[in-house]
């Protein structure tokens, strides 16, 4: 059951992401991406990380993507902004294709080295209690550093986004 769920959710994620990155209109892209993130959140849940799944929905789908939407709307970015003046650039795709091929070979090698089955992801569940314990006990220091980081990111966003010596911009400052 869980195995099937994994593949279905994986397919949804990939397709939604594919659609997201090919959209001409950024608003549509964001909406597709939210879809992809929902599926990803379910995958997290499936892999035994309920808390991460919840945060994926809250932070990524809820906050970050909404912020993106907000900015797109605020700046009135037209869908046609990146109409390519030079036609499709094949050279651009070349490294990607080669990279995909290289990674494919890597995966093949990997599966060749380790027969499938010996290295499976087991059913495992990290309870929020364990998680919280680890987060605030072992990684308390990291939490502190990250919180400082958020503070200074907010300061920076405020500094950069503020219009010159006039009113405060609502753009970046209040995240």
């Amino acid at each position: 059951m869980a195995t099937w769920m994994f593949y279905i959710l994986g397919a949804i994620t990939v397709v939604a992401t594919l659609l997201a990155i090919t959209q001409r209109n950024p608003v549509h892209a964001v909406i597709y991406l939210v879809n992809s993130f929902f599926a990803l959140a379910l995958l997290f849940f499936l892999l035994g990380a309920p808390l991460v799944a919840a945060w994926e929905v809250i932070i990524y789908a809820g906050a970050i993507m909404v912020l993106f939407l907000f900015i797109i709307m605020m700046l009135e970015i037209a869908p046609g902004v990146e109409a390519d003046r030079y036609g499709p650039n094949w050279l651009q795709w070349l490294p990607i294709l080669l990279l995909a091929a290289a990674l494919g070979i890597c995966t093949l090698l990997l599966t060749g080295l380790d027969p499938v089955g010996s290295n499976g992801v087991p059913h495992w569940y990290a309870s929020p209690r364990d998680f919280g314990y680890a987060l605030f006990k072992e990684y308390a220091l990291a939490i502190e550093v990250v919180s400082f980081q958020l503070l200074f990111a907010a300061v920076g966003a405020f500094y950069v986004g503020r219009p010159e010596r006039k009113s405060k911009s609502p753009a970046g400052g209040d995240r």
Binding site: V155, Y159, E164
Partner: protein
């Protein structure tokens, strides 16, 4: 997290809390110079504390070590930031920087760098690296009246974010392969007989991309000249010295921990070192802009340091740290001179603009010349000993081809280091009188100059110190 752990991270605590305090104070009292000097003082206190205070724990929270090596790095980065704050005094006035924010961000960058150099786990490494990268995004675009600053900020932001993606992916792959973030276990899991070793190597490939970006190795260097050119000169100075140095110093124990299993990784580094030395040197040749030239020169120097990294062990580590200090002094000094020449609306950086400036501002010009000479590795300046140390170590460790390429490229590099010096002292001048330097700038440039001269004539103590702190 208990009191002992906090005590062990006292320098970083001083930096981070000091940054917050300066930030909050800056909101109330708008005195730019006061906050800059205050920030400088805090950084000095942190450096002093790291140098003198023996921390009670050897490792904090399984993420950061407080070894002599980490403390040495903390001292160096704190001093760099203190120097940046000092030299920015007038620059900030000219460009109407928000004093409190500027000082706070730089202080926090110092905290991030020192955490990065002290990292003993991938979580710590990631957080430390991101901490100062985030701050740098803002600092690059800090000059809000400059289009180039905005462009530079954008470029660094996009590449930085992509590099973060690679770094995170690399760490995730290594974690997948070994099941631990801690260096000791993670690296042990990559030993030759590890079942998931190929996965770990893929992780290392990603990691190398990210590191390659941060220390601008060819072919990940393309952003470097643009960002250095657009960023405010003191910030370019920090990026060329401390930001890169912190990544290198974090990388050194990582590679050392791999031991014999580092064969493939070293061979990639070998390739990157050759590419970087050649690419940086060649690209610097046709430059006509001082900051861009310094950017490419920093690329080339990263190649030399990569050679030292590759040699590894005591010899390589010693050569690397010595070179890093010496290179940082000279590069920072060069950017310091550019800072001190800055006008309110632009920085003097095109060769055409500095023609004959040597006669108008002889002291700063000769200091710049000395810094460039040191970078070129001309005795008796310290750069010579640095290069000599690395190439000597390379020869002794059997990397003859790297030493030969290094010597060749540093010969070629004379061309682009001498060019601005010649332009500076050309008779038919087109430059006009700039403002005379302020006291802070002279103190700083003077001490940089004295240091490169001192380490060139009498490198013994620094060499001993470096040998002492090496893990």
């Amino acid at each position: 997290m208990n009191l002992l752990e906090l005590q062990s991270l006292l320098p970083q605590l001083i930096l981070a809390l000091g940054a917050t305090a300066v930030l909050m104070g800056g909101a109330w009292l708008e005195n730019r110079r006061f906050w800059l000097l205050c920030g400088m003082l805090l950084a000095l206190v942190a450096a002093l504390c790291a140098a003198l205070y023996e921390p009670p724990l050897l490792e904090v929270a399984g993420m950061y070590s407080t070894s002599l090596y980490a403390r040495f790095c903390t001292v160096v980065w704190s001093l760099t930031i203190a120097a940046t704050l000092l030299i920015s005094c007038r620059y900030a006035d000219l460009h109407c920087f928000g004093g409190g924010e500027y000082a706070a961000l730089l202080l926090f960058a110092a905290a991030g760098m020192s955490l990065l150099s002290a990292a003993s786990s991938f979580v710590g490494l990631f957080i430390g690296l991101e901490a100062f990268t985030l701050v740098l995004y803002i600092l690059i675009a800090f000059n809000r009246t400059d289009n180039r600053g905005a462009e530079a900020g954008l470029k660094y932001l996009v590449f930085g974010a992509v590099a973060t993606g690679f770094l995170a992916f690399g760490i995730a792959l290594i974690y997948t392969a070994t099941g631990s973030f801690h260096f000791a276990e993670a690296l042990a899991g990559l030993q030759l007989d590890g079942g998931l070793r190929p996965l770990g190597l893929a992780g290392w490939a990603m990691l190398l991309v990210a590191i390659g970006f941060k220390i601008s190795l060819v072919p990940f260097h393309l952003w470097t000249p643009d960002v250095y050119q657009g960023a405010p000169a003191p910030i370019s100075g920090v990026m060329a010295t401390a930001a890169k140095g912190a990544v290198l110093t974090a990388f050194l124990p990582l590679l050392a921990g791999l031991g014999d299993a580092a064969g493939e990784i070293k061979s990639v580094l070998w390739l990157l070192a050759i590419l970087t030395m050649l690419g940086g040197t060649f690209a610097a040749l046709p430059q006509t802009n001082l900051k861009r030239m310094l950017a490419y020169s920093s690329v080339a120097h990263m190649g030399y340091m990569l050679v030292a990294l590759l040699i590894g062990g005591e010899v390589g580590g010693q050569a690397l740290l010595f070179y890093l200090v010496v290179y940082s002094l000279a590069t920072f000094g060069a950017f310091g001179v550019i800072t001190s020449w800055a006008l309110a609306d632009e920085e003097i950086q095109e060769y055409a603009e500095i023609r004959g400036l040597g006669y108008l501002h002889p002291r700063r010009s000769s200091a710049l010349a000395a810094f460039l000479f040191s970078l070129a590795g001309i005795p008796p300046l310290a750069g010579f000993f640095g290069k000599f140390g690395i190439f000597h170590a390379a020869l002794r460790s059997g990397y003859t081809e790297l030493a030969v390429i290094g010597v060749l490229t540093s010969l070629i590099s004379l061309y682009y280091y001498l060019r601005p010096i010649i332009v500076l002292f050309m008779q038919d001048r087109s430059a006009y009188q700039l403002r005379s330097g302020c006291r802070e700038e002279f103190i700083l440039l003077g001490s940089c100059f004295a240091a490169i001269l001192l380490f060139g004539v009498y490198p013994g103590p620094l060499l001993e110190l470096v040998a002492l702190v090496l893990p």
